[in-house]
Subunit: 434 residues, 2 copies
């Protein structure tokens, strides 16, 4: 009943594991000192490659030695997890990371050197077992999905795209009003035929439904994807593969707020703390098309601010290039703004500072109460890939107006407006942030 | 680009709206006293039909009169919302309830009788506009989806089932490793061909993925659905239609905890406060197959409790039939329980009392601290459809053990165990709760 694709993936993964662990096994049989060497998954060993817009793991490695008392526990956990995953592979199981946590969770009883009976748990929290799975991904240089580890999956897609998944060939342009729900192991998908000019990723499922139903992807020869909120790994990997293998431009459409900007950032770069994933899950060519703060407000407040010499000085090197930005006209009228805008919350501001750094908040934020609450974020420099004139402007307008806007507001102005005017115009005029 | 199905649905809905509002329009043109009469959506007008296991709206009605100063605002909101929905229908829009909120939100300015200029908002919160949409559903006797109002949609399905959606015919047995994501307007789906013996609904997407990948639905001739957590309206309506139109048994598999039991309850009966939806969204024939508390622990603690005469007396009429329940053996060993069980939280207990009533908690709960915290729930009688011997036993074991268990634990014991033993055995022996 199981697909041939899965059987082949299992065979390959099990073989890789045998190969990578054979050294350790031999060392144990020789009663030697077994040790793992793997890249360090630390912040200090994470490098942002400005040119290729990628997060990479640096050259630092760590050792896990069985005979070092400080490392024995981690060594045990690594071997235990590897054996559970290997068993799952050969027994046709499809565990989730939650399963792997449950499967490995037990007490090991032994006598200590002083003769006392000791009980030690393999792991207590799923946090611990998840971390071991990440170690193994880095050690084996595979994504966990290639080890047939499954997870829940929210991503959906429609468009002129034929894929092969499992034993089936599926035409994603023939999904009716529904959509194709992406599988949790997107590396096992084979793209058979793609006839599209770009990929549009919509953060919100409800807006995806509207655009789909309206025939947006047919009219515009687009592939339409939704992540239904924060993107999961499979949706990210699926997008990356589409973009790579067919050289397709990728546009991301989110709410106009720091959480939306962050979702874009996850698609494009990934997260600093999980940089080893980014190398394969992130889509460096993804562009943010909106909704921009400047689509809502234009950039007058921002240009006002630039006139102030002190402000510019305080922005420092980041201020270079700001004046060269083309002027932006808002898509919304004053009356529409009044009805559609939502007041920003404290946590939106905190997220904004995490993205752009405290400096921009300090210069652009006029509200003393909010500013005071942000003091604890002083010194934060933000993500390197947000340090561009375009993003400084976006976040500056955010700090000035303390407002946010949902994509739905653009659909409320009219689905025709969103589908036939806003999105196509932004794409055709290149009004995006890269 | 829009499907013929949608055009026809629009035409029908717009016609219905014209018909239902023509009386009001005429009354307004005559400068008379326009008034709406519609069923009351109140708790007191909600009836649980024990025989058919359905929540129904009772015979009480309410009037919304334009010339009554207390009702004028609600009258205005109803007419405003109806006109926005009507416009959307004729303009090929697919609004969400969020859109409808945005579209109608504005200030109405007028001079009061004293000559003062007054500004009144049509509505402030989405809560208000949502309530008006519900009124219209009841007034028109349709689901909002039939008015082409869309929403985000989480439900997925795979199985031997061919459907027609939009202009496409889709074979849901040919989805590869992915799945078919149900459309937000399930009444527009046409079921073409179903070859299945039952429907299995799995609460958790990750477990759905595992069973799908394992070939469960092929082996067992089942249709496999996941609600990915709390079921949304479209998933519920889709299930109801499948069950009705093909006379298929429906089994629900959730976590073993009061939230899981509640999810089952939403599928089967719906919610008391939205009973008007239940008439068409609920699936009365849905059965709970697990995970039961007694699948985890057996029912020894419960039988112990029954020996206590006082306890039985306190349970009152609910105690009748408890002794006739067939004895239950647990599926898990003591060691497995130790690794898999999660401690119940205060909010789990509160949810349990909402389902079964305070009385059962009072009798079965030994932990004094928890009991004390539940005092505020005293007097709660629970949902009528949970007042059965089987559910008293389940919740009693829950209160006794203060434990819960995820479906994943059953998959951790082995996907083979879950797919080839646990689920088929429970179905073939009739070990479910109806």
């Amino acid at each position: 009943m199981v697909s041939a694709v899965d059987l082949e993936a299992r065979r390959k993964a099990a073989e890789l594991m045998r190969k990578m662990f054979s050294g350790v096994a031999e060392e144990i049989q020789r009663e030697g000192r077994p040790v793992f060497v793997m890249p360090k998954r630390t912040l200090s060993n994470t490098i942002y490659d400005y040119k290729n817009k990628l997060l990479l793991l640096g050259p630092e490695t760590l050792k896990r030695s069985f005979t070092d008392v400080n490392e024995a526990r981690k060594f045990m956990q690594t071997v235990l997890m590897a054996s559970i995953i290997y068993d799952s592979l050969v027994n046709n199981e499809y565990p989730t990371i939650r399963d792997l946590y449950y499967r490995g969770k037990h007490s090991i009883s032994y006598r200590s050197s002083s003769g006392r009976e000791v009980h030690e748990n393999t792991w207590d929290e799923q946090k611990e077992s998840d971390s071991v799975i990440r170690d193994l991904e880095v050690f084996l240089n595979v994504l966990r999905e290639e080890l047939l580890i499954l997870s829940k999956e929210k991503g959906k897609v429609v468009g002129n795209l034929v894929i092969r998944s499992g034993d089936d060939t599926i035409d994603l342009s023939r999904m009716g009003h529904g959509a194709y729900s992406i599988e949790p192991t997107p590396d096992l998908i084979e793209f058979k035929d793609v006839d599209a000019e770009y990929v549009l990723v919509v953060e919100k499922d409800a807006v995806f439904q509207q655009l789909h139903r309206y025939g947006f992807w047919k009219k515009n020869k687009a592939i339409l994807i939704t992540s239904a909120g924060q993107p999961d790994r499979a949706t990210r990997r699926f997008l990356r593969r589409l973009s790579d293998e067919y050289n397709l431009p990728v546009y991301i459409l989110t709410d106009s707020d720091p959480y939306g900007f962050y979702i874009y950032s996850v698609f494009k770069i990934g997260s600093i703390t999980l940089s080893y994933e980014s190398e394969r899950l992130a889509t460096p060519r993804a562009k943010f098309i909106g909704v921009m703060m400047t689509d809502v407000f234009g950039d007058d407040v921002f240009r006002e601010m630039l006139k102030d010499k002190d402000s510019k000085k305080e922005l420092g090197s980041i201020a270079r290039g700001l004046e060269k930005l083309a002027k932006k006209k808002p898509y919304l009228t004053e009356a529409e703004r009044r009805n559609y805008i939502i007041k920003a919350k404290q946590r939106d501001l905190e997220r904004a500072v995490e993205l752009i750094g405290y400096n921009v908040a300090d210069v652009c934020l006029d509200n003393a109460e909010y500013k005071n609450k942000l003091k604890k974020k002083e010194g934060l420099t933000g993500y390197p890939w947000f340090q561009t004139p375009e993003w400084v402007r976006e976040l500056c307008v955010f700090f000035k107006t303390l407002s946010k806007l949902e994509i739905e507001a653009m659909a409320s102005k009219g689905l025709k407006f969103l589908a036939d005017h806003y999105i196509p115009e932004k794409i055709s005029t290149g009004d995006w942030i890269d």
